[in-house]
Symmetry: C2
Subunit: 151 residues, 2 copies
Amino acid sequence: MPRRPDPERLAAWRLLLEAHAAVVDRLGRELEAECGLPLTWYDVLLQLSSAPEGRLRMRDLARAVLLSRSGLTRLVDRMETAGMVCREAHPSDGRGANAVLTPAGRAALRRAAPVHLRGIDAHFARHLSDADAAALGDALSRVVAAERDPA
Amino acid sequence: MPRRPDPERLAAWRLLLEAHAAVVDRLGRELEAECGLPLTWYDVLLQLSSAPEGRLRMRDLARAVLLSRSGLTRLVDRMETAGMVCREAHPSDGRGANAVLTPAGRAALRRAAPVHLRGIDAHFARHLSDADAAALGDALSRVVAAERDPA
DNA sequence: TGCCAGTAGTTGTTCCTGCAACGACCATGC
DNA sequence: GCATGGTCGTTGCAGGAACAACTACTGGCA
């Protein structure tokens, strides 16, 4: 017989869906309004800036920003047109390409980060007690890990 | 000065994004593969079935499934073509329309529900302790409530 | 009664995404 | 050397979503 989640956990799942939708929507709008920057662009800039030398292989960047390879190709196209990233051939793998953060991209991230972090605090973090944050981190990291390793 | 979330809460936010993406993607694929039903369709069927008489105003349904009004119009178009819902004029408000669950829609939901619930258990609920579930529900309901009431 | 701001649902348009397919390239086998 | 299977990034294509404009209707007010 199929295992079903109990009502408490089912409600938790539903709440996760609602909270995600509400907060992502809000953060996206705020970032767009105050910095003219889509959330996906911010994510790319952030991932690149926290990578060594501000560059990342397309494949790895796609994984980091939770996008398909083709999706990332178009996204980097747009951001390259906007001058925030550029491409370079991979030094050792002839198939590969790196996306590289440009100074303009770094500047955009510096402008956007305070806005986004303030939003995360106001719309999410502020409502979590220390215990909540710990439990959430614990539980969700197990969920993510289980999905990564189809053990 | 702008308030910034501490690293622990920031990590929790990031994990929520990753868990949401991973689990929604997985659940959607499983439902599509085993029942030929997109996740959004399931959500519509579920909301309708839990409404009195299996009918809901378009506006309310749109809110319930976290979609824009225009998005819901097209979605109901597709589902109506598939015979799972139908529209009827609202009895008292000449502007309004109700989406109504058909027998076929009810049957599809009955087939899909076990699959989906099993998935929620396997990919999400199973990884939560009782305390985790309680903390998650508590915290996320506060987040959602705060977003609903711009207090 | 007639007017009119507000709301409901639909439609046109545009944007973004994933899938499938493709050429280029790597790596391992013979 | 060179075939072969696999990976990387890109592209054609189709589907789904949001925004804004539009029509139809409501409800309050003079």
